[in-house]
Symmetry: C4
């Protein structure tokens, strides 16, 4: 194998990009557990102390689901990529920066679940991840810039619409969070609901 | 290499899934050490302070063994996988979520080794990992859904029975832990014992 | 595939080196978020508490950008490497040691943004990373020691000059930081400015 | 590519083992920085506070060098491996468990550099890593069990002797540490010295 050939170079390039993203996902998702505080109380109060950490477990599971689903989405996007360029790499880094940041608002939300500020910080972070992911896909698919040449328009459109769901739902939850933090958290259920509706509208775009 | 071809796509897909799982295993197993507190005492009391951390070292080693063995098991399962689908990916994420959570009950057990609550939290977590792993294998092997077509039924059955050992032992240790936390920890020795017995019953299923 | 052949051995060798570096980059970049302290105040003071963490967010974003750009640079250097030797591996480890250290001065800078000491510690660390990266490239490209044989001299020179920008800017910021810490931080803007100027002078060396 | 074929299966197996080890090395080496405490003092005392952390920086650099060199050694060993079996995997996990544990004695040594207990804990850990690495190589190379068939006996013997240096030096430093902790730390310089002497005795075994 001639590793100096340009196609070999490209393959290794794309592999490293994908690998780096996977590693960042894996680390960010695993660090979430560090944000759950180990209780420091008398032995007899341990059960009670764990009971009061309900929101920390909730925000751990929520962020695990969020990052896990982004990983699957990133996975799917890169399944169609056949080329990368410098700008795409930079958008990808921006996206990863948002992913890496997630454990922080997760920890804040775990500690202050009923605070508007905590919910807004969380919603803004996830919306930011979503905007970066949407940028990634719109940029790559625009005029088939970096994707497989025979990728159908309909599928491109499906993933474009899908990439708007998270920014839309999380941004619109911010005004709600100002007065009703818990309602804003309920509002996020729109994400899976809209995703399912969209997949019904584009039934042939499922798969992989 | 035509990276857009469906088989190339699949290969990369499966590689990413395996890679992501390996990274999560590696991180979770390495984070365990962060849960051992560095003593903060006068120099002359260091030896005594380390001596009192016996249970933290025990729970570190226990969880290292547990996660390490899951890694080998995951490794073995994926050695037979030739296809993945969306549902399998989701079960896999659930499994990884349980793995990622392990450092938390490990730290709690290290600090409160004689507490029923800590032992039950630990046992429930490991049982959860075990149930997810069992699901993963039963789903993949059912009707040879995702596994090598020529995998023998007897071997499938062996791994199915084996996947039940951990949930069985850890779930049955929970009622014991209610009154005797240390006895519950001893009870876990059934895991290697049953694994050895099972491998004697199915001697031809050993290997790799 | 005969994994014992020397070329296969080499391929695996280079892959492991690249992989190890990528993993270290990914972990160092993800650990940055752990240095942002989760506020521990009354719920009504959360917004204020987050507001006072502005510099922690700044130093997180700065170091993310710094490590991210080093990753891209490392990526580019290794795209030209066709051979490794023991000395190169050692320089690479030195470089990674500097990268791994970055979260520490980042955390110090986040907490003491207006302190000369914190700015100097940060500048010295980044300059150290830069010197190690420059060494890596100068050593590999000297007489085409480890790089693709047909790599043009002009491109080698371009990357050599480019590798000097970071050490130059960060080292010269140290005397400034002694009296004006904030001005030293502004001074760092020379890095992207000089990089853009240099890429204009060598327009044909862009790409990758 | 028929991923179900036994050779494909093997290749993937070995890759996962190597990958998992690399990830664990990368994480353990990167976590070292987390053990350096960010000072929490008045701004004007920052310089002084950092000055008192000299031993933390020393133990960070020492452990980085130690883990980095184990990584290179592991790298070299696996360059000769063509087969793995269950026992080898288990020794490898034992080795990784010792590697993963290194950040803990590193942090203890950083905080209690003049304590016999801290030095003994550190020396015992590194000796433990060394014993596991020696086991790994002796087991794999015994009768060419898992290594390339044409690997020369002389090279096997060289690596066997080399694998004894670390356990030897660190175990013999323990009695010294009982009365003179700093002298024990100096004693460790025997490791590079003996490695260089040995490589002079077996000049043809260098390379890779």
């Amino acid at each position: 194998v001639d590793v100096s050939s340009s196609s070999g170079h490209f393959e290794r390039s794309l592999d490293r990009v994908v690998f780096f993203a996977d590693a960042v996902f894996a680390i960010a998702i695993t660090l979430l557990v560090l944000e759950i505080a180990v209780p420091n109380v008398a032995k007899t109060h341990l059960q009670h102390a764990l009971g009061t950490e309900g929101w920390e477990f909730f925000s751990f599971a929520l962020s695990f689901g969020v990052i896990g689903n982004w990983w699957i989405a990133h996975h799917r996007i890169f399944g169609y990529i056949v080329r990368v360029n410098a700008r795409f790499l930079r958008i990808n880094l921006l996206f990863l920066m948002a992913i890496v940041f997630v454990p922080f608002p997760t920890a804040v939300l775990g500690r202050y679940s009923d605070s508007s500020t905590a919910v807004i910080l969380y919603a803004a972070t996830i919306a930011g991840v979503g905007v970066a992911a949407a940028l990634l896909w719109w940029y790559a698919s625009d005029g088939h810039r970096l994707v497989v040449p025979d990728l159908r328009e309909r599928r491109i459109r499906y993933f474009r619409l899908r990439s708007l769901i998270v920014p839309l739902v999380f941004l619109t939850s911010i005004p709600i969070a100002l007065s009703h933090p818990y309602s804003a958290e309920l509002w996020w259920i729109w994400v899976p609901v809209l995703a399912i509706i969209l997949s019904r509208v584009y039934p042939d775009s499922l798969g992989d």
